[in-house]
Amino acid sequence: MASVPIQPVKPRNVGQRRWLRRPSLGRTALARHEARWGLIFLSPWLIGFLAFTLFPMIASLAFSVTNISLAQDQPLRFVGLENFQRMLADKQTWESLAVTFRFAAFNLPIAIVIPFVVALVLNSRYLKGVGIFRTLFFMPYVIPFVSGLLAWQGMLNLETGWVNEFLRIIGIQNPPNWLQDTTLIYPSLAFIGLWGIGAGVIVNLAGLKGIPSELYDAARIDGAGWWASLRNVTLPMMSPVIFYSLILGIVDVLQYFLVPLVLYNGTGEPGGSTLFFNLVIYKQAFNFQNFSYGATLAWLLFGITLAITLVVFRTSRRWVYYAGER
């Protein structure tokens, strides 16, 4: 039977700024009551955010224009933009940013696509034992990340790692040094990252479960096969979830820190390929005791992250579809 081309679900009102209009929450006594209680319930988070995120941020901005450092025996003074000038002239700033962006370009698509694909498989009506698979995929997520990293370090060891033991069994006598080879390091890190995709899978799975089956029924009646349904129903309906994953993924990858710290002691080995920008911030502030310079670098990261996030938000109007939007 010839398949009938179907029209993709067209996002409505895309590009309009209706969501920025003043909400109508305060118009009725009930709404005001709800809003008040909403704020009360939110207050622990809000207080925590103000005290432990916003205030330290403001403090770090103040640090960035001073000379706080244990490495020098000078009194505290205002240095203006000196730290920012140093940052721009520092080769390590650009090298570590390049490392971060290179890894982001490699890892981000994987970190978004793989959980989505796994969720698609787990959502399939043909898969038996779905509950077991869901549990298996989520289980690594509940293991402390550092413990998991140390286990991966062992598994990828050149001499005694299980991965290379397996490769030797199948006849590869000189298996690669996964964690010390500059050409393999990003695939290895991405591989390690996939181990903890449980949360991403669950989010994607929840999104897939939320797609009304009527849409698939309608698509089938229109002659859509698996691919056409995926392209014209699943992807548009999942676009808010993909958007959410993308934003979190961007923020996460720009803050990439723990893996290179644990695996390489923050040295940037092999060959500087793991000297991520967030690691440089940490080392400057807490290892090299240059608080002011570390704070300055943190503000650069903040600026970059904010800019990228805003750009992605801006583009979202063109590709994210909210089914309930009027």
């Binding site: 490495a71 000078q74 010390q180 923020v251 092999p270 967030n278 290892n287 005791q289 943190a298």
Partner: protein, 486 residues
């Protein structure tokens, strides 16, 4: 409505996450703050500013653990030491603060930079203290004022703490080096044991008497390196990919320390700003590299990192390494090597034997508001409390008169009779200047030469390197860091 809320909620969440890129993050997996919260042990007491409480009681804070002292059984002793002091000194009240080793450096940095530093810090090694160069109190005036007697300590150990900052420490625990070896492996290979006395010759299998130097040690190490087919490293058909027993392991925690076994020195030249790597250290690094990749008597980096091959940080502990240079503090794990290990003199280089030296003590921060009271507490730690603390830390007493008791305490931990005199003799062969001597941009420089540093990692993982180029590259990298130092 729901859509609007969803979008606004997403925006708020995203902005919060972006903010978190700059501030302490709640993200469990990727931020420095997350690491800090994951691994920092809670301090026993919240930091307080040293101050005189009403009634004239001076409040002091003792900060631990930049170099050991955090284990629960150690904390029990430390708590008792503090309680005893507080009971016997009604005018001083000491609060003990434990911060785990991995977080201690960062937290102390933060405390000092925020003007909320403690009074007494320790136990801390020479290198750990140099990470806070310029922050330590010169004890000389207090030593003079109180007539504190330093004559009970070896003069060269007292001198270790005489720096450009002044006399910043008084000896407490010392850790001379020795060559740990497995007698059973020597017997099995038909080899004589290495000499226990510095200056003694070694008897080769052919009966010849030769100097106990690094060339000899390498020859012996090859005979002690055995593959899974029971061939040693001198025999045809020896398979370096299937080694079952290694002959020699250098101390590879720190490139400077590794170098110091070949001769004392430091990286900073006379002007204190120019990198000048001692020739003996260059020789040591080449020896180390060849021992791994050419002679195959030492573990490669991946073997060293493998928990299957090296489960407890030092290969000698696994019982598959015949000889290993290390400090006396490594007795904490050497029992796992079996009951046939002993101590020998470290080999000489160019006719001189140098046993790299570690030492721990307690120090007073320059910012302490009560230096006199802090000194009173410091001398208590080094005096009345020292026996308990040394036992808890596994430290060897710096005070000469206490060393016999220290040896007895060490020997009590092992079934085999160990020649501890070798370690005592090592004090006379300590490296001076100490390898952990201050250098510009100390903490940043450690990223190149310190524990887990860039070059140690690279050399352990990469065969076929040109070591002359590597050493030149290290010198260039180090100089670049020093040139940027304030």
């Amino acid at each position: 409505m729901r859509t609007r809320l969803l979008r606004v909620g997403s925006l708020i969440a995203a902005v919060a996450l972006v903010f978190a890129a700059c501030g302490p993050s709640g993200s469990a997996s990727s931020s420095p703050a997350a690491v800090a919260s994951e691994s920092a042990a809670p301090a026993s007491t919240a930091p307080e500013t040293a101050s005189a409480a009403p009634g004239g009681v001076v409040e002091l804070r003792w900060y631990c653990c930049l170099g050991g002292g955090e284990a629960p059984e150690q904390k029990t002793v430390e708590d008792k030491v503090v309680a005893d002091f507080n009971a016997s000194h009604p005018n001083i009240h000491v609060t003990f603060e434990v911060v785990t080793y991995d977080q201690a450096n960062g937290q102390l940095t933060t405390e000092i930079q925020s003007g909320n530093g403690p009074d007494v810090v320790g136990p801390v090694g020479i290198g750990g203290a140099n990470a806070f160069h310029g922050q330590w109190l010169d004890l000389a005036p207090l030593i003079a004022k109180t007539n504190y007697d330093l004559s009970g300590f070896p003069a060269n150990v007292v001198d270790i703490y005489k720096l450009d900052e002044g006399q910043v420490g008084i000896p407490f625990a010392i850790y001379p080096s020795a060559l740990f070896y497995k007698k059973g492996m020597f017997d099995e290979a038909g080899l004589k044991e290495p000499p226990h006395k510095y200056g003694d010759k070694y008897t080769m299998p052919d009966g010849s008497q030769v100097d106990w130097n690094y060339d000899t040690a390498l020859k012996v190490a090859k005979l002690l390196t055995v593959d899974k087919n029971n061939k040693d490293a001198t025999q045809a058909g020896f398979d370096p990919k299937k080694i079952a027993q290694w002959g020699l392991e250098l101390q590879r925690d720190d490139l400077r320390g590794m170098g110091a076994y070949f001769g004392p020195g430091k990286l900073a030249s006379g002007d204190g700003k120019t990198v000048a790597i001692p020739d003996a250290w260059k020789a040591a690094w080449k020896y180390y590299y060849n021992a791994i990749w050419t002679d195959h008597v030492s573990l490669t980096g991946p073997q060293f990192e493998s928990k299957d091959i090296n489960p407890k940080d030092y290969p000698f502990f696994n019982g598959h390494t015949a000889m290993s240079e290390n400090f006396l503090w490594s007795t904490y794990g050497v029992g796992d090597a079996g009951d046939d290990w002993n101590l020998a003199a470290v080999p000489s280089y160019n006719g001189t034997a140098t046993a790299a030296f570690n030492a721990d003590t307690f120090r007073i921060l320059k910012g302490s508001k009560h230096p006199d009271e802090a000194f009173t507490f410091l001398t208590y730690l080094l005096g009345d409390a020292s026996a308990d603390l040394l036992t808890a830390y596994g430290g060897f007493p710096a005070r000469t008169a206490n060393q016999a008791a220290g040896i007895a305490a060490l020997q009590a931990q092992f079934k085999n009779t160990v020649d501890w005199q070798v370690a005592v003799d090592g004090i006379d062969h300590a490296d001076k200047p100490n390898f952990e001597d201050f250098m510009p941009a100390y903490n940043e420089s450690l990223g190149l030469v310190g524990s887990g540093g860039k070059y140690l990692t690279k050399w352990g993982n990469s065969a076929g390197l040109d070591m002359d180029k590597e050493i030149t590259s290290l010198q260039t990298d180090l100089q670049a860091i020093w040139d940027k130092a304030p």
